[in-house]
C-alpha cells in the first residue's frame, strides 16, 4: 500500500505507468491516473491521443504491455470485459453493440447471465431507467429507436451490473444538445449515489460543465491533471494540443454573389438497405457564403455528398445546378470541369489512395480538370510526373503539410496533414464551388484551424462553400448560413447569427416543431 502513495490510497481506481505498445508505437506511454469515489473524471485528448486504448485496457479489452492497475488499492489484472464487470466496472462504448431486430429487454438480457427471465429483466430495466431519468420502453424494438435511446440501453445495461465505475467513451458525439443535457442529469444522479464516472471527450465545454477533475492526454502521455472548472478553454486546449491554436477569423465573408450551387427538390432513394434516402432537398449557396449543414451522424450526410459531387449522379439534371447550369445527371468529372471541387469525409480509400505517393493523389482529383497541365501525348494520356510533383510541392507549402520525405505515400501522413493536403489540392485550383464533408474529422486542432481558415478565405474570395459537419463548434466558426439535415431531409437555411445551439438541436431531432415535443420528452 505504501508504494501506492497518498494520492492513490483512497482512489477507487488507480493506474500506475500503464503502457500499451502496438509494435514499436506507444499508444499509451506510462499513464498515471487516479479516480476517486463519487467523482466525474474527464479523460481529455484529441483523436489518437490514446484515450480509447487506455479505457480498453481498463475494461479488459486490450492487455497492457506493462504497468499496474489498482482497484481499491489492490493490484488487479483485468483479463476480459467479464472480469471488469465482476470488479464493478461498466462501460458504454462509442459504437453500440445492439441487435436491431430484438427488443430492448432482449438486448439487455443478452449481456446478463442466462437463466434470468425476460420479464424480470424488463421490470428491472424499466425501474432503473426511470430512476435515472432514462425513459425506455423494454418492449420497443431497437431498430425503431433513436441514437440517444439506443445509448440509454447501453447505459441501463451497464447499470444493471451495479457498477462502481462507469466508463463513457465520447457519449455526446452522437447526441443532440438536448439529449446530451439529459445524459448529464443522469451522470449527476450517479455521482450523487457515490458512483464514479470516467468521461471521455474532446469537447471542452461539456467537460468544464460536468467534470470534477480532468486528466489530459497527448500522444499517449499525460500532459496535465487539473480541475477543469478552474481552467479556461484556451488553457485546456493548450494541454491537449501542446500549443496555442489560432482562432478562425470569418471577417469579410458577408458579400453575396450569384447562386453558384443549387439543389432543387433533390430526392435520392437509398442505395443500400443501410443507406438513408434523401427527401426533397433544396439549398442555394451564393458566392461568398459558407453554408454549413449540421446533423447527427448517419442522417444522410454521406448520401448528400455523393449526390452533390456526382459520384452517384441523379436522373434529374435540374436537381443539382453548378454555376447556374444543370448538373444533376453529370458525373464527378463533368462537375469538376464546371468549376466545383470536392473533399469527401473518408481520407483513406476515398479522398486518397494510401499506398500511392502524394503526387499521384494529386492526379487522382485533378486528372481531367488540369488535363492540359498534367497530361501529355493526347489520347495516350502520359502523366507529366515532374509537373505534377511541382504542383504537389506547392500545395504542401501553401497548406503547411508536414511529411517525412519529398513525396511520401499518402498513408504515411498523419490525419491532419493528409487532410490539409486533400483540402489544399482543391483550393489550389480556386474552385468556384467547394463541397466538403466533415472537413476536420479526426484532425488535430492545429490542422483543423488551418483548414477552417482556408475554407473561410475561399468564400471571401467569392466562391461558394458547402460544409457538411457534425461539429457544432466548427459550424459556428466557419458558417455564414446554417441548415440541419435529419433523416435525409434538410431544414430551412438560416443565417448563422440567428441560430443558437439549442435551435440547431431542435432541428436535429426532427423538423419544424412537428416533433419538437418528441425531442423534449421521448415518451
Amino acid at each position: 500500500m505504501s508504494a501506492v502513495g497518498a494520492s492513490g490510497g483512497s482512489a477507487l481506481l488507480a493506474v500506475r505507468s500503464l503502457t500499451k505498445l502496438f509494435g514499436s508505437f506507444a499508444a499509451c506511454n506510462a499513464i498515471d491516473l487516479d479516480i476517486q469515489p463519487g467523482e466525474i473524471h474527464a479523460l481529455l485528448g484529441e483523436n489518437g491521443a490514446g484515450k480509447s486504448t487506455l479505457v480498453k485496457m481498463l475494461f479488459g479489452v486490450l492487455a497492457p504491455t506493462s504497468g499496474q492497475i489498482l482497484w481499491k488499492g489492490e493490484p488487479v489484472r483485468i483479463t476480459s470485459p467479464g472480469a471488469a464487470r465482476r470488479l464493478g466496472i461498466g462501460m458504454v462504448f462509442q459504437h453500440f453493440s445492439l441487435f436491431e431486430a430484438l427488443t430492448v429487454a432482449e438486448n439487455i438480457a443478452l449481456s446478463l447471465s442466462p437463466g434470468i427471465s425476460l420479464s424480470k429483466v424488463a421490470e428491472e430495466a424499466s425501474r432503473l431507467s426511470h430512476l435515472y431519468g432514462l425513459p425506455l420502453d423494454p418492449k420497443a424494438h431497437v431498430a425503431d429507436l433513436s441514437v440517444g435511446e439506443r445509448q440509454r440501453i447501453e447505459i441501463v445495461r451497464a447499470l444493471l451490473q451495479n457498477p462502481e465505475l462507469i466508463i463513457l467513451d465520447e457519449p455526446t458525439s452522437v447526441l443532440t444538445p438536448q439529449e446530451a443535457d439529459r445524459l448529464f442529469e443522469t451522470l449527476a444522479k450517479l455521482k450523487a449515489e457515490g458512483r464514479s464516472v470516467l468521461y471521455i471527450s474532446h469537447r471542452l465545454e461539456e467537460v468544464q460543465r460536468i467534470c470534477d477533475r480532468a486528466t489530459v492526454l497527448r500522444h499517449g502521455k499525460v500532459t496535465g491533471a487539473c480541475d477543469p472548472r478552474k481552467e479556461t478553454p484556451a488553457s485546456l486546449a493548450r494541454m491537449m494540443v501542446g500549443s496555442d491554436v489560432a482562432s478562425v477569423s470569418a471577417a469579410g465573408t458577408n458579400t453575396k454573389g450569384d447562386v453558384l450551387l443549387e439543389a432543387r427538390h433533390l430526392s435520392v432513394p437509398a442505395r443500400t438497405p443501410f443507406a438513408v434516402a434523401l427527401k426533397n432537398i433544396c439549398l442555394k449557396v451564393r458566392g461568398g457564403e459558407v453554408l454549413a449543414i449540421a446533423g447527427v451522424a448517419g442522417n444522410g450526410q454521406g448520401e448528400l455528398f455523393d449526390a452533390l459531387s456526382g459520384e452517384y449522379p441523379v436522373p434529374d439534371a435540374s436537381a443539382v445546378a453548378i454555376r447556374g447550369r444543370p448538373a444533376g445527371n453529370l458525373g464527378i468529372t463533368a462537375r469538376r470541369l464546371m468549376g466545383a471541387g470536392f473533399v469527401p469525409e473518408e481520407r483513406h480509400g476515398h479522398a486518397a489512395v494510401p499506398a500511392l505517393p502524394l503526387s499521384d493523389n494529386l492526379v487522382l482529383a485533378r486528372n481531367q480538370s488540369d488535363r492540359k497541365t498534367f497530361l501529355a501525348g493526347g489520347v495516350l494520356g502520359v502523366i507529366r510526373r515532374a509537373v505534377v510533383r511541382i504542383a504537389s510541392r506547392r500545395i504542401s507549402e501553401t497548406m503547411d503539410v508536414r511529411k517525412s520525405g519529398e513525396n511520401p505515400a499518402a498513408g504515411s501522413l498523419s490525419g491532419g496533414n493528409l487532410q490539409k493536403y486533400i483540402v489544399g489540392r482543391e483550393l489550389d485550383r480556386q474552385p468556384a464551388v467547394l463541397i466538403v464533408n466533415q472537413p476536420t474529422w479526426g484532425v488535430d486542432a492545429g490542422a483543423a484551424s488551418r483548414i477552417r481558415q482556408a475554407l473561410v478565405d475561399l468564400a471571401r474570395e467569392g466562391s461558394a462553400v458547402l460544409v457538411i459537419s457534425q461539429d457544432l463548434d466548427e459550424i459556428f466558426e466557419v458558417a455564414t448560413e446554417i441548415a440541419v439535415i435529419s433523416e435525409g431531409r434538410l431544414s430551412d437555411v438560416y443565417p448563422a447569427r440567428d441560430l443558437t445551439r439549442e435551435k440547431i438541436g431542435l432541428l436535429m431531432g426532427g423538423m419544424y416543431g412537428k416533433t419538437e415535443g418528441e425531442v423534449a420528452d421521448a415518451h
Binding site: 509494435g23 514499436s24 508505437f25 480498453k56 479488459g60 479489452v61 486490450l62 492487455a63 483479463t79 476480459s80 470485459p81 462504448f93 459504437h95 453493440s97 459531387s309 459520384e311 458525373g331 464527378i332 468529372t333 469538376r336 470536392f342 469527401p344 473518408e346 480509400g349 476515398h350 479522398a351 486518397a352 489512395v353 499506398a355 500511392l356 499521384d360 492526379v363 487522382l364 482529383a365 486528372n367 481531367q368 497530361l375 501525348g377 495516350l380 494520356g381 502520359v382 502523366i383
Partner: protein, 364 residues
Amino acid sequence: MRIELEKRANPSTFFSVLSPFLALGLTVLAGGIMFALLGKDPISALYSFFVEPLLDVWSLHEIAIKAAPLILIGVGLSVCYRSNNWNIGAEGQFIAGAIAGAIVPVVFHDWHSPLVLPLMLIFGMIGGALYAAIPAFLKAHMNTNEILTSLMLVYIAQLFLDWLVRGPWRSPDAYNFPVTRDFAPEAILPELVSSGRTNLGFAFAIIAAIALWIMMRYTLKGFEITVLGQSERAGRFAGFSSKRMIWFSLLLSGALAGLAGISEVSGTIGKLQPVISPGYGFTAIIVAFLGRLSPLGIIAAGLFLALTYVGGEAVQLTLSVSDKVTRVFQGLLLFFVLSCDTLIQYKIRLVFSRFGQSSEGGAH
C-alpha cells in the same frame, strides 16, 4: 493456441525485391528433395531439369515457343489482377481465340491470300475478347463473381473444341482422327530466325509486354488501373468507372489470351486438335505473380516457367519420372512465391495467452 498473421510495420525492401528469387531457390530445394524421395540422384535430376535445356539451341527454341503464350497471357492477366478483376479463365479465352482464328483456314480452306494470317490473328483476338466478355458482362451487370464464371467457362471451351474437332470440323483426310485439316502454308505463323522453330508469337509477346509496361508506368490509363485496384471508392472520386474497368481489363486480357491461342495453333501445331494447351492459361497465373504483376518481370517469369515445361519433358525421358513432375514444380513455385510475399508483408505470431481471446474485442 492459435496462429496470427501480424502486418509488419516496415516490410524489408531488400527482401521484397529478393522474394521471387527466394521462391525459386526454395522450389529447387523442394524439387531436389522430391527427386531424392523418388530414388533419383537429385543433383543430376535438377541439372537435367534446369540446366541442360539451356545448353542446347533446339531446347532454347522450345523455351521461347512455350514462353510466348505464357508471357502474352500473363501480361494481360497482370492488368486484370492489378485492377482487382480476378480472371482465371485465360485457358478458355486461349481456346476461344484459337477456334475463332481457325475459322479462316478451316472453313474457308480454299481461300488463299496473304490476308489469311492477319485475319486469323484478328479473329483470334476478337474470339478471346468475346469469350472474356461473358464474365465481364456477368460481373459488371449481374454482380456475379468473375472467378467462378471465368473458370467454369474454361471447361465449356475445352468441350466445345473437343466437339468441333470430332464433329463438324473434322478433317476428311485424317482417317477419323479428331483433328481439323492442316492449315495451308499462308496460315502458318512464320519463324523468326533461321536457327529454329521460334515463331512470330514470341515477338507478339515481347511487344505486348513492353506496350503494357509503358501503359502501366506512364499513362493515365495505367494510373486508373492501379487506383481502381486499390480502392474502388477513390477511383469513383477520381471519375474512373469500375464497371468500365471490368470491361477493359477482361477484354484486354481475353484478346491477348486469344492471340496466344491462335499463335499457338498457327505457329506450333498447324491445326486444331482436342488438346491444344498444356495448361498455359493456368500457368500464366503463376507467371503473372512470379513476375510481380509487372510486364517486364513477366517476361522473365514466362521464360522460367517455359523452362519447367521443357525441363519436365527432359527428365521424363532421361529419368523416366512421371509427366506430372512439371505440374509439381509449377505448384511448388506458386506456393513459395505467395508464401514469400506473405511472410515479407506479415509475421507469424503464435498466441498462447488468454489475452489473445480478448484482443479480438479490441477491433471495435
